[in-house]
Symmetry: C2
Subunit: 242 residues, 2 copies
DNA sequence: ATCGATTAATGCTTATACGTTTTTATGGCT
DNA sequence: AGCCATAAAAACGTATAAGCATTAATCGAT
């Protein structure tokens, strides 16, 4: 059991994270430079650097080079989480079908919560995004805009975890299903469902939003399974998170 | 641009993962020691150590100290994923309520899928776990066994992602609600619900399993909220990743 | 044969020196 | 005075070596 002693560098990393949290550091704020941190945490420079590089890998900070540079507070993004997720899923031999199922389980509840809690700003953003979706219905940007719509819906749900998960799942799914596009007919069907979801959210109709979203994601999964049966059995692989 | 260099550690990490998969390394196998890896990947020591640290936190390897030590292949466990999750959730200011909501969204579907797909081996494991739960109903081990039950249910659902998420959420919830135990009465109620879920799974009653699980997690959430209203607004914090 | 002390291998931390990148200041030229 | 180029400085980045800490393997005494 490694519970006996945590590694010094990780202890320092945790201390830095605590410091960021306690001092309410925002993204973009500069942290103390190396010299000051050396005195503050009483470690050697290599140890401090290991902690800093570790946090950089996790997306917590960014290291800027040159004079006036130093550690800058960042915010772990969806892709950082998606990277961690895909790594563990690779070792669990998870396939695309599992990802789609999870999305089917989460997305309807997310839509319901969004209907109950969306602010006016959320609604405006969703409407804008939907308008662009209709404009992009036959262009290559459709997928990205589609992902953004689900992302916005997640944030509108008032629960960051929904947005985090659905967005990460979308990224991983797209990694696997990249070569396979959607037909125009399928896209039209998706747009109809999305319109119904959006309308239900506007009307604060949680149950309607849930049902229409359920139909949307189920339809999407079935479409992929029908188009390419081998695709849904493809295993998740830890892709380059850059 | 540090982007090219910063990803070097990730490239090395990916190479190590590929090596593990290609050579079909099992958990417990030893990887080459640091010196050999330095020559193999032609990177600086700090970079290699960064890659190894990253993989250690993700649970892919363990770094064992001392003679005959070195990097040892492991298998990412739920707690490794929970650690990564908690780090990003901390920076999203996620509170306990959000975790509970997510669990409410996932657990019912997981139970339904388990009812549809559980093998006989799964059922046997679940029954054993439930029996131990009844034995542990008034001991400190109850929570851990409870978590294991959800983990098993996830595997029984045929979709590892369900088990991974619910189990990780359980761990994080427990970290926050540690001081606040469950009353004997509440535990008895949870046990009754679990028994109904287990029975529904045995009978292949997907809808029943979903309903009973929904009631279980909803009840658990409401219990916590009633016992300590401040608790559910507590923020997730990155716990000790050892 | 078993248990305890010794030894060796290995990662962890520290220490120091030098290289790189960016900002800032200087200084001569127009 | 104003402007561009070059040099200096401030900060991080990389590299190497040495000692410390920890643990497995080994050896020896009971």
């Amino acid at each position: 059991m490694p519970a006996g002693k945590a590694k010094r560098a990780l202890q320092v990393a945790q201390a830095i994270v605590s410091d960021i949290q306690l001092n309410a550091r925002e993204a973009g704020d500069r942290l103390p430079q190396e010299e000051d941190m050396l005195a503050r945490y009483e470690v050697a420079r290599a140890t401090l650097r290991e902690a800093l590089r570790f946090l950089e890998l996790q997306g917590v900070i960014q290291l800027q080079l040159g004079r006036g540079g130093g550690p800058v507070v960042s915010r772990p993004q969806t892709r950082d989480f998606a990277s961690s997720l895909s790594l563990i899923l690779q070792f669990m031999d998870t396939d695309l079908r599992a990802l789609l199922e999870l999305r089917e389980a989460i997305a309807p509840d997310m839509a319901a919560k969004a209907a109950a809690r969306a602010t006016n700003a959320d609604l405006a953003a969703l409407s804008d995004c939907y308008a662009q979706l209709e404009r992009d219905r036959e262009t290559a940007g459709f997928e990205e805009t589609n992902r953004r719509f689900h992302d916005l819906l997640g944030w509108a749900s008032g629960n960051p975890t929904f947005g985090l998960l659905t967005s990460a799942l979308h990224l991983l799914t797209r990694d696997l299903a990249m070569e396979l596009g959607y037909s125009a007919q399928e896209r039209a069907g998706q747009l109809r469902c999305l319109a119904r979801v959006l309308n239900a959210v506007r009307l604060r109709d949680a149950d309607g939003a849930r049902r229409h979203m359920e139909r949307l994601v189920k339809g999407s999964s079935e479409y992929l399974a029908a188009r390419s049966p081998e695709l849904v059995t493809q295993k998740v692989r830890w892709g380059d998170p850059g």
